[in-house]
């Protein structure tokens, strides 16, 4: 059994809303090993996005520990968390989140930019990834010139550019028609086949079933954690 790359140990997250405290996650414990393909599901407001933000080091747990690649990131300062995000995580969002004034290649390069990689090397790598997601013809296009599916493929290339430990996706097909959604899911299957670790938050049962493992949340608890055959 290989060492898990993500370890969640009784993680809680609460938000203070004036006099009330909203418990978004009430003690979540699970491990993820390298190469796993996980979907996180559950009804609206059950804490999926909160969990993904914690996994993505965009936020810190209120209590509990989160070990990423064996390193405890739950108590890190802001700069260190930024470094971790830039080097070890890849993000894919429901609304693509590309920067509008930058071209396809420049969008893909962003994570490398903040790691001070040599410009020529970054450019080369970004072009390679753009080709890999089928955008060889669109390198210098701006995001608004692309379809939703193409934009999401740019986002996938961007999530891969820093060779992350884990790729995190929040409703990646939520804004897409079913055909484009299927395209994206095919890309995810390929990535899984190559041994990438994927965590996908989704409402869509067909998306959920494609994963190897589904964690179901309910009211900030893990309701079920099943492995598909």
């Amino acid at each position: 059994m290989p060492e898990p790359i993500v370890q969640f140990n009784n993680v809680r997250k609460s938000y203070q809303m004036g006099m009330f405290t909203v418990e978004a996650l009430r003690g979540v414990t699970f491990d993820i090993t390298e190469g796993d393909y996980i979907s996180i599901m559950g009804s609206s407001g059950c804490g999926k996005s909160t969990l993904l933000n914690l996994l993505g080091c965009l936020d810190r747990p209120t209590t509990g520990h989160y070990l990423l690649g064996g390193e405890d990131v739950s108590g890190m300062d802001d700069d260190s968390l930024s470094a971790v995000r830039g080097a070890r995580l890849g993000f894919i969002f429901q609304s693509y989140n590309l920067i509008q004034q930058l071209s396809v290649v420049e969008n893909i390069e962003i994570p490398l930019y903040y790691q001070d990689r040599p410009e020529a090397e970054s450019r080369e790598r970004a072009i390679k990834l753009a080709k890999r997601v089928g955008l060889a013809e669109r390198l210098d296009h701006k995001p608004f010139e692309l379809s939703g599916g193409q934009q999401q493929r740019v986002a996938i290339a961007r999530a891969l550019v820093n060779d992350p430990l884990v790729i995190l996706a929040d409703e990646p097909t939520g804004n897409l028609d079913s055909a484009s959604g299927v395209e994206i899911l095919k890309v995810f299957d390929e990535l899984h086949a190559q041994g990438k670790t994927l965590i996908i938050v989704t409402h869509d049962p067909t998306v959920g079933r494609r994963a190897r493992r589904t964690i179901r949340l309910r009211d900030g608890h893990i309701e079920s954690d099943i492995r598909h055959p």
Binding site: L58, A83, I99, D163
Partner: protein, 445 residues
């Protein structure tokens, strides 16, 4: 599997400021400013006008005060100048009680004696009698001041002879009929030829022209800045003092409204030279005391060029302070404009900030990104402002004939301040951008 590059250590706080990173930040900044060209241009205008007005006003002010100071200096900073002035109550006082009255006033030869005798530190005295009359060359005529004075006038009043010579002790002793013309009147009297050696006529007397003085800038009347507002004071002819005494005596007749009026004035002007600069004020006080003791009426006026110079310098200082405040305010306004735009830009780009933060940008990367933009805005404004600010004084001196002086430090200062304004007013929006929570920023619509 290669998914194991360790997170980079941020050991040095300055890692984020590598030259390459800064270059990229500048390129990024240019692009986002270019994306909102009109907005950037309008923002920059505030700084442009601020910087440009500072430089232009400084140049014009500097030029004006330089001219004033040069004129005062030309009077001689070691000199004290006394003028005879008709006392204000002259109309009522009748000297002799008859219908022909002789008005007696002004600086006298005994004043000269008293000053030399009682005040140490006075080296040379320069008396002058001034008579208003027409000077003729055949049919050419100039209304002119004829100054009877001494041979050392040119050296003491820093007024050099341009051609020919000034009269000498011998000319003076011999009461010769020689004269030296002011440069300004030469073209009017002798439009075609050189005046040297020619004769001019005043009344019934002829004088031989032996020299021409240097021109005194384009505003010749300020040669005696306080003496007379009369335009004709611009034209002066010099003759030996003894010759003047011989020709005119001490009583001057003047026809006025049908009756004659006589004035007895011994000296119209007396220049006192002091041995050293630091004694000027003391000697001036002593001269004032001597004059007050011997003149019941205030029939004289004392001008001290050094004090005028100091006053001019003080005026210039005040001017500079006022100018500095105006400059500061206009740059402040420009800075506020920049801050306003940057705050709007930060709000507008909240989502972008969230994306960049999620993809590994640290707070200081965001700060640098926004700060580079503001500094570029104010820097471009500064450069345009300097270019405009240097051009305007040139145009002004060309069209209005005013002297302007652009000192090297004024564009540097103006540019430096504008860059500083960019940094100061850029910091708050940049910090605000960097402080945003990435999760919140990503959710922003």
């Amino acid at each position: 599997m290669s998914a194991n590059n360790p997170p980079p250590k941020n050991d040095s706080a300055w890692r984020g400021l590598s030259v390459a990173r800064l270059q990229r930040a500048v390129r990024l900044g240019i692009r986002s400013l270019w994306l909102h060209r009109l907005r950037s241009l309008l923002t920059v205008l505030g700084i442009v006008f601020g910087v440009c007005s500072v430089i232009a006003m400084l140049a014009i002010g500097e030029g004006a005060s330089y001219e004033a100071q040069e004129q005062i200096k030309s009077l001689g900073s070691q000199n004290i100048i006394l003028h005879s002035v008709k006392p204000p109550d002259e109309q009522k006082v009748s000297n002799q009680g008859s219908q022909s009255r002789v008005l007696q006033y002004g600086v006298t030869y005994s004043d000269v004696q008293r000053i030399t005798a009682t005040i140490p530190g006075v080296t040379v005295m320069l008396p002058a009698r001034i008579i208003r009359d027409y000077v003729w060359n055949i049919s050419h005529r100039v209304d002119c001041e004829i100054a009877g004075t001494v041979p050392w006038y040119p050296t003491m009043r820093n007024h050099r002879v341009a051609s020919g010579r000034f009269f000498t002790e011998q000319d003076m002793a011999g009461q010769k009929s020689v004269c030296v013309l002011g440069a300004e009147m030469v073209p009017m009297l002798f439009p075609m030829q050189s005046p040297l050696g020619k004769q001019v006529r005043v009344g019934g007397d002829y004088y031989q022209v032996i020299g021409v003085m240097e021109a005194r800038g384009h505003d010749a009347k300020t040669d005696d800045a306080t003496e007379s507002k009369d335009k004709s004071a611009a034209y002066r002819m010099f003759i030996p003092l003894e010759t003047a005494k011989l020709r005119y005596g001490e009583v001057l007749m003047r026809r006025r409204a049908g009756s004659f009026e006589a004035e007895r004035v011994q000296l119209h002007e007396l220049t006192v030279k002091v041995a050293s600069l630091d004694q000027v004020t003391i000697v001036a006080g002593a001269v004032k005391a001597v004059m007050e003791r011997n003149h019941k009426k205030k029939d004289y006026q004392i001008d001290v060029p050094l004090e005028m110079l100091r006053r001019a310098e003080r005026t210039k200082q005040i001017f500079n302070i006022v100018l500095g405040s105006i400059a500061a305010i206009s740059l402040l306004v420009g800075g506020i404009g920049i801050m306003n735009i940057m705050l709007a830009s930060v709000t507008e780009r909240t989502r972008e900030i969230g994306i960049r933060r999620a993809l590994g940008a640290r707070r200081r990367d965001i700060i640098i990104q926004f700060l580079v933009e503001t500094v570029m805005l104010s820097g471009i404004g500064g450069i345009l402002g300097v270019m405009l600010g240097v051009t305007i004084p040139l145009i002004v001196s060309h069209t209005a004939g005013m002297k302007t002086i652009i000192t090297i430090w004024s564009p540097l200062l103006a540019f430096g301040i504008s860059a500083l304004v960019g940094v100061i007013f850029g910091i708050y929006p940049a910090v605000r951008a960097a402080k945003m929570d990435p999760v919140e920023a990503l959710r922003h619509e």
